[in-house]
């Protein structure tokens, strides 16, 4: 298994994180501001990039699990840094090292497909729905389509 340091370096390289100029556009565009009441520099894309660059142990950091992996930060970055790719890679590293308390497993296929805080947000928004519906949403999209096919075709 690759050491954690190597994985972080790889993620940095792939996402172009060293090019960050800390302009904060990604933070302005980030939908997490809307999603979490405790949104702050800690979990913002800029914060994660910075922590990665200064050599913090980001793989074990809970803050990498708030991101929805959307395109907005990547789209607005003047330096072409992809915070999405960085966080995706960091999460992959965490999963490979079995730091998975914040990763959500698909109930059907067992693969990790979502982060727990993101799921909490979705379920919070859907709290009016009955329990069985929320239970059915605990599967990854491809399994969910598969299940829906078997029920309806």
């Amino acid at each position: 298994m690759k050491p954690r340091h190597d994985r972080i370096e790889e993620a940095k390289k792939l996402s172009g994180a060293p090019g960050c100029v800390e302009c904060g556009r990604c933070v302005a565009a980030c939908p997490m501001a809307e999603m979490y009441a405790n949104f702050g520099i800690e979990m913002s894309p800029r914060g994660i990039i910075k922590k990665t660059l200064v050599g913090d142990d980001v793989v074990a950091d809970r803050n990498i699990w708030y991101c929805t992996e959307c395109n907005s930060g990547t789209d607005v970055c003047p330096q072409g840094v992809s915070c999405r790719d960085l966080i995706r890679k960091l999460r992959e590293a965490a999963i490979e090292e079995n730091v998975v308390e914040n990763a959500k497993r698909c109930e059907a296929c067992g693969r990790f497909f979502l982060a727990v805080p993101v799921e909490d947000f979705v379920f919070g928004r859907l709290k009016a729905e009955p329990a069985n519906v929320l239970k059915a949403l605990e599967t990854c999209p491809s399994c969910r389509r598969e299940i829906y096919l078997l029920r309806n075709a």
């Binding site: 556009r25 302005a28 565009a29 939908p31 997490m32 809307e34 999603m35 929805t68 992996e69 959307c70 395109n71 907005s72 789209d75 607005v76 999405r84 979502l114 993101v118 799921e119 947000f121 979705v122 928004r125 859907l126 729905e129 009955p130 069985n132 519906v133 239970k135 059915a136 949403l137 999209p141 491809s142 969910r144 389509r145 598969e146 299940i147 829906y148 096919l149 078997l150 029920r151 309806n152 075709a153």
Partner: protein, 433 residues
Amino acid sequence: MPETRPQSGLTLEDLRPREPEKKKFSDRFMPRRNNTILFDPAKCTGCGTCEMICSTRNVANVAPASASVKVLSDEKLGKNFAVLCQHCRRPLCLEACPTRAIEKGDDGIVRINDLFCVDCGLCTMACPEAAPLKDPGTGEIHKCDLCEGDPLCVKHCPEGALTTTRGNAFRWIKAARWSVQALSFLFLVILVVGTFCYFRAGTVELACPTGTLQNIASSGTLILVGASSALALLILTVLFGRVFCGWVCPFGFVLDLVDKITPKKLGWPNFLKSRMAKYGILGGAVGSSAVLGYQAFCTVCPIGTLCRSYGVQSVMQSAELAIVPALAATEIAERRSWCRYLCPVGATLGIASLLRLLKIVIGARKCKKFSCIQCAEVCPVGIINADELREGVSPKIPMTECIMCLRCVDRCPYNAAKVRFRWQKSTPGEANA
């Protein structure tokens, strides 16, 4: 992509489907209808033409992976299926979208506003069918917008598995049911002298089966003539289910009328929510008849009192006059709560309907499940499990409780609620009841 996302100032409330303005009378029988895509899995061959043509609209290329529709084939069981947005009446994706980019229009189309969408994919996570599709190339979210009312996939599907529908133009079952109910009320309550609990015209004899049961209990003798005339209603029930409750019963008609003026329901207390209670009441009525020596329940039966007290030539008995409005008031709690929980006449017919020939099937091939749920909304006795439909499962209908009013069949815009013979096959993926 704009530099920064415009601040919308929209609230979720602005995006949710709006309640239509005040209903006109014609809306009740000729509903305003939106176009929707209907998919028939039995006709689908999995050729993927819908994906091709859809992608030309999304990315200006033939790129099936970038389409808003996904064709799945289950190779073992030989089923083909197209996953596409159902344009829910109450979209969950709308609720989950963190940037408020999803909106349900007045035309019924659920749209993603590209200005606000950041392709986070939470709509996919909230959709019971995972219909918003992530483009594996660009990471963008593609979702059907019905081509603004004239879908390309429908035009190009070679097998006709995709069609558009607006649902029924006229709710003729509804019209027929109200007419039959009104006519039977007129005939049984107003015109017939006395009650129709025991009715005789020439050689035709009819009797209320519950009354007959009490009669047998109280007198201790089985009167064959009375029993055989009670059979008529039971045979009707075996043939067609509890159509008496849904189409004939004059008290049911009164309840339906009261329901029209009390659209807001207070809710039936939970501890009384037992559909078995009416069987208990039936047992109690028969038992107490045996003890008391007369038909105990018949004195307070709302159907009987309605006939006895409200007819043109009936004797107005002040005590009896009060029973009908008192029991009709239960309608404020839940629709047909009398019939659901208490009515022993319905209980007798329910027992007879164990031998039924017909059944109601919800969720036949073209059912849109979670996106629609109109059948559960219109069911007066609340036996269609909306939660199961929300999950995407076809609910099983307890036929002893069904009053065969056919509201679900009438309301379903997709012909997915059907009357079938008992031995005919049920729907795919039916819940285990």
